[in-house]
Symmetry: C2
């Protein structure tokens, strides 16, 4: 299977097909540190990254946001001292699309080398 | 009373004095859009800013984070499409210090002109 981190998001509509259970099982080994959290009945991919301090958390947030703009798919990001929590889901389908798994993998690829 | 936005944070210790009720009453007219939210028994100053899109929310987040580093007092920041939520409190005293009101006023001063 092609690596998720190397794929591009496709345009998404309200009629787009959510990720199937079978796809999710296929995708998850590529993003092992992400969990699926259901908030207000909508599934999101969620991961909290630990970083050294606030400045690193802020820089990481900025990198994730820049990626989001480039792919035109946007997460929510919680920035704290030494910690960044990111959640990806697809508002238009009120759930998880293949795009979200791609973005989770791309987010993992942004982790500063010394934090890996 | 001196304007909060023009003051500097002072160094804070576990023994520092929290803001008194009287001070809070004095401070609040300078930060009228902030609310006090109690989370896990600890009071925080909280405000959600509306912005035009994700890119503006990200830039605003970065400006707040840069201010936080400069004053060495750090908030939590939730960045979403068109929305940034900021919370200030003082971990060392598990509550609100004068510093938090100063930072709230300084955060308000960072709002992009066209969003005011």
């Amino acid at each position: 299977m092609e690596r998720l981190a190397e794929q591009k998001c496709e345009e998404c509509h309200a009629s787009s097909t959510p990720a199937t259970d079978e796809e999710i099982v296929q995708f998850r080994p590529q993003i092992p540190d992400w969990e699926i959290r259901t908030i207000d009945g909508i599934a999101r991919l969620s991961r909290t990254y630990r970083l050294s301090n606030f400045a690193e958390a802020l820089e990481f947030t900025y990198r994730i946001g820049t990626l989001a703009e480039a792919e035109w798919h946007h997460p929510v990001i919680l920035t704290e001292w030494g910690k960044v929590t990111v959640q990806w889901w697809t508002r238009k389908i009120k759930g998880l699309h293949r795009n979200d798994f791609i973005m989770a993998a791309k987010t993992d690829a942004l982790i500063p080398q010394h934090e890996k």
